[in-house]
């Protein structure tokens, strides 16, 4: 058709179309700052033309569609970028918390405490019997130990905070999942009737919010249904159905259909959840494990030396600090339950007895077979000891700990230890300085705190070194040697096994003397040798002895030899385990090669700095990328007010022009009607 009716019709359509376009524009302007809003564009096209009078006339205009300007690829990229960014920024936050715990700029830092600790030992070496030095050492050591305790509890607190964050995060995730499912239902229902632009924007925004918590994958099917799954493919939303996540026993569980639960903790790498889990399951445990190793190392190295010495007075009773879990398991085996069971080796230690006047009664060697001797054996042997005819010592097991004391009929008697080559005293916590099984319970031994005279600065003059097996030795037996050496110069003994019953010895490369293997065979100058176990022919041992200084078994208040040995520790390389935790690898430990305790601490503190620095840099990098993508997305989907204003004017003028069409056609009609009149 044509004619004036057509003009009117076209004008009416044009008015309506331009008004729709202005509606869309106003919607855009209104949502200029709405998070996740995508700019909408009216799609206006010419209507199908119609033939009339031999010509084809256009039929005006119509609104074909309201188009949502989005780029699906960019949206997905943004969402996964958001996951990565949230993960590292949570790690950055928590790393800065760790950094402040290990802050090295203050005087209370761990390394300062450790320096003070070494200094206190040096001061004690300068004045071994000084009570001020002893008090100061105990105080400095307690401060050091407390620093470890505080760090331990701070790390645990951080772990608890992370658990709370994860719990709250899981609630948020489940809530978002329900919302996505609701919108899914609406969009699918809407499917045939409309394009649901704004619902899609909302859903998109929800997925972005979800990405902040967890890494997700999405897939939109033709009917508008959005399938959401975790980064590793566990479905979370499909149509109106949700599969929720819960946090139980430190693990994230995915609840599948029915009542099946799957542990997905290890599969979450992105989002805040990924960052929290990384901190909770890897960074903090690694930090804790290394802190524990450091505490254990300080404990062990100091105790090992300390247990060789003697304080200002002998001991009247001593109780070990570490308990065995089973009195009948070999002390050197894991089953014994001792923290330092692996440090116990075959060897022996000397137990000295002093009478009420402090004079030496005598000493005895107690041989330790790491794989055979149990707590019961050791306590039994000490309990039954008769030293130089005097059975003055009681020994028993108290709550798994070794107790040794003088009995009531020998009041005023005391005892002391020396020359422990088996490490058993240090492992049991007998005559030790520290007690700990890690950073949590790191402390100065109560017996030192109660009686500072028990700080073992001196060593008992014994003069006979331990028997050292030559390389290639295959004997399973133990040789111990005993003094006092009465010769007038330092000497060296060599001991050679001839067969299972005979051995030979010589002093300082002199002539060989043959002897019969037995429990106590004297060689020369007061030195005797004890054989325990079975021996192979041609095996050999050596014993170094030093010239006698002082009287056998005595110790001097001014003797600082044991303290000097402890101060040497500061510059000695020790082997300390280094732990590293990772999601795939679990916990791996490496022996740090020959670093001093100070160096290990410095490396440890610096490793926290390095981790923190690397997540900070990663965050910056991820943020830059995310900003770039956001800009690109906004270039496509964001509202530009200038553009909308220009469009508004464009559509407004078109609207005005369409209105003009109506007046024109009215004029035309008027003209026609007047003609008829």
């Amino acid at each position: 058709m044509s004619g004036i009716g057509l003009v009117l019709n076209v004008a009416k359509d044009a008015l309506m179309t331009q008004q729709y376009a202005i509606d869309v524009t106003s919607h855009n302007i209104a949502n200029v700052d709405t998070e996740g809003y995508s700019r909408q564009t009216p799609v206006i096209s010419a209507k199908q033309s119609a033939p009339y009078g031999g010509f084809t006339f256009g039929q005006g205009v119509e609104l074909k569609d309201i188009f949502r300007n989005t780029d699906a690829f960019l949206e997905k990229r943004l969402q996964s970028g958001q996951s990565d960014l949230s993960s590292v920024s949570e790690q950055t936050t928590y790393m800065s918390v760790l950094e402040s715990m290990f802050d090295e700029s203050s005087d209370q830092s761990l390394s300062t405490q450790l320096n003070d600790f070494w200094s206190a030992w040096n001061d004690l070496a300068n004045n071994p019997s000084g009570s001020a030095e002893r008090n100061s050492l105990v105080e400095k050591s307690t401060l050091l130990a407390e620093s470890f305790n505080n760090l331990n509890s701070d790390l645990n607190k951080t772990s608890d905070e992370l658990n709370n964050s994860i719990k709250a995060g899981v609630d948020s995730i489940n809530q978002i999942l329900t919302q996505i499912a609701d919108i899914n239902k609406q969009i699918v229902a809407n499917g045939s009737t409309g394009s649901a632009n704004d619902l899609r924007d909302q859903r998109n925004q929800l997925v972005t919010d979800l990405s902040k918590y967890i890494d997700v994958n999405t897939y939109e099917s033709n009917d508008g249904n959005l399938v959401v799954s975790t980064g590793k493919g566990y479905p979370l939303v499909n149509r109106g159905d949700t599969y929720s996540i819960n946090f139980d026993g430190g693990k994230l569980k995915w609840e599948g259909s029915g009542s099946s639960e799957v542990d997905i903790t290890g599969t979450i790498t992105g989002g805040k959840m990924g960052g929290w889990l990384e901190m909770k399951d890897n960074v903090i445990p690694e930090c804790m494990a290394n802190l524990d190793e450091l505490a254990k190392s300080i404990t062990w190295e100091v105790n090992k030396i300390h247990s060789q010495g003697v304080g200002l007075e002998g001991l009247s009773s001593v109780t070990g600090t570490d308990a065995v879990s089973d009195n009948d398991k070999a002390l050197g085996s894991v089953d014994s339950g001792l923290t330092f069971n692996d440090k116990i080796t075959d060897g022996s230690f000397k137990l000295w007895l002093y009478d009420e006047n402090g004079s030496t009664v005598g000493s005895t060697d107690i041989a330790v077979d790491a794989d055979a001797m149990t707590m019961n054996d050791l306590a039994g042997e000490i309990d039954g000891l008769s030293i130089n005819g005097e059975d003055a010592l009681n020994s028993m097991i108290k709550d798994g700990k070794l107790y040794i004391g003088t009995d009531s009929s020998h009041s005023g008697y005391s005892f002391a230890f020396s020359d422990d080559t088996s490490n058993v005293l240090a492992a049991l916590g007998v005559n030790t300085f520290f007690q700990s099984s890690g950073s949590r319970d790191f402390a100065v031994n109560d017996s030192i705190i109660n009686n500072k005279n028990n700080i073992a600065s001196a060593r008992i003059s014994n003069n006979v070194g331990p028997a050292v097996a030559a390389s290639g030795n295959t004997s399973t037996g133990i040789i111990t040697t005993d003094g006092p050496y009465t010769g007038d110069a330092d000497a060296a003994y060599e001991i050679k096994i001839l067969d299972s019953t005979q051995f030979q010895w010589r002093k300082d490369g002199g002539d060989w003397t043959t002897g019969v293997i037995g429990s106590s065979v004297s060689m020369s100058d007061g030195v005797s040798v004890n054989f325990n176990g079975s021996f192979d022919a041609d095996d050999s041992f050596s014993v170094d002895v030093t010239k006698s200084s002082g009287t056998y078994g005595e110790f001097a208040l001014g003797d600082n030899s044991n303290t000097l040995a402890i101060t040497d520790l500061q510059n000695q390389g020790v082997s300390i385990k280094q732990w590293s935790y990772s999601g795939e690898g679990g916990a791996i430990s490496d022996d740090a090669a020959n670093a001093t305790i100070d160096e290990y601490l410095h490396m440890f503190v610096s490793s926290i700095g390095i981790k923190s620095q690397s997540v900070q840099r990663e965050e910056q990098y991820k943020q830059t990328i995310q900003d770039q993508f956001t800009t690109t997305r906004d270039n496509i989907s964001g509202v530009s007010l200038d553009e909308e204003m220009a469009n508004l004017i464009k559509f407004q003028q078109a609207y005005t022009a369409a209105a003009k069409l109506i007046t024109t056609s009215q004029d035309m009609l008027d003209a026609l009607i007047n003609t008829v009149k």
């Binding site: 700029s105 320096n115 003059s461 001097a556 600082n560 490396m603 390095i610 923190s612 200038d642 204003m645």
Partner: protein, 298 residues
């Protein structure tokens, strides 16, 4: 290219926060004059800084040990110097008394002088430094020498290990002395106290042979004491060398620590100014671009 309206706001916000945080960081460096304020500022440099810090603390401790050792050495040197002076005067007295022209009364008087000298040497042999006996081995709480009740013998009560202090990572130096090694271990002619007690008896008894015998022994003792004094001198010397080394090390470590840890203040201030400039520029440009849209002109 079309730019969305919010892009400009977001850019403004992000560039303002970046330049603000950089300015804060620069300000922190200036105000603390430290380059490393947090572990993550330079974790690798931090290891060296911490190593230097513990080395410095160790060095401070060692110099305390050395000065403590020096006080022992000074005390020993002065005590032994006095012993030497006394022995010299005893020697000249003995020479005088051995002369045939000396009468028994003079000799008996001289015996009193020798007794006085003996007591003085015992008291010097019991010298203390900081309340500890320096000639007692490590048995520093007990006086090493004691004249027995009938004044015929002086016993050594110390032990045979000299007291040591730590002057290096692995080196200890004996600053105390084992008294018996200086004054005589066995009760024979090598024992200073025996010589003096015998001399006193000889003088009392007017025994010229005994006096002459003492003369020979005194020479031995004096040369022994002089050996000990020169040994102490050698140790003092070693301590001085060690002290100098430590002072050099301290300077070296302090400067290395400072290189890594301390900020170059002028550079830091320039940095701060430039960051401030950037921040100001960001603020100014933000205030300009955020004002205008097409709406203003319609």
């Amino acid at each position: 290219m079309r730019i969305a309206s919010k892009t400009i706001y977001e850019r403004v916000v992000s560039s303002l926060s970046t330049s603000y945080s950089e300015m804060c960081k620069a300000q922190e460096v200036v105000s603390s004059s430290k380059r490393i304020n947090k572990l993550s500022d330079d974790p690798v440099g931090l290891v060296t800084v911490l190593d230097m810090r513990s080395s410095l603390s160790n060095i401070d401790q060692l110099s305390r040990n050395i000065s403590m050792g020096n006080s022992w050495l000074t005390a020993s040197e002065s005590a032994l110097g006095q012993v030497n002076d006394i022995l010299t005067s005893v020697k000249s007295l003995t020479v005088q008394m051995s002369s045939a022209s000396t009468g028994s009364t003079e000799r008996a008087n001289a015996a009193g002088v020798v007794e006085e000298d003996l007591n003085q040497i015992i008291s010097l042999a019991n010298s203390q430094s900081g309340g500890r006996y320096i000639f007692s081995g490590t048995d520093t709480d007990n006086a090493p020498f004691k004249l027995n009740s009938d004044e015929t013998q002086v016993d050594y009560n110390g032990n045979d290990t000299a007291f040591s202090v730590k002057i290096g990572a692995t080196s200890n130096i004996a600053v105390g002395k084992v008294g018996s090694e200086i004054f005589g271990k066995d009760w024979d002619s090598s024992n200073i106290f025996k010589t003096l007690i015998d001399l006193k008896t000889s003088l009392k008894n007017n025994d010229v042979t005994g006096i002459q015998e003492a003369m020979g022994n005194l020479d031995q003792h004096m040369s022994k004491i002089q050996d000990e004094i020169s040994d102490i001198g050698g140790k003092s010397n070693r301590m001085t060398v060690k002290e100098n080394i430590i002072a050099d090390l301290k300077l070296n470590y302090t400067s290395r620590k400072s290189d890594l840890e301390d900020a170059d203040v002028s550079q830091a201030i320039i940095d701060l100014n430039s960051k401030q400039l950037v921040y100001n520029a960001a603020l100014t440009s933000a205030s300009k671009v955020m004002q205008k849209t097409l709406v203003d002109y319609l």
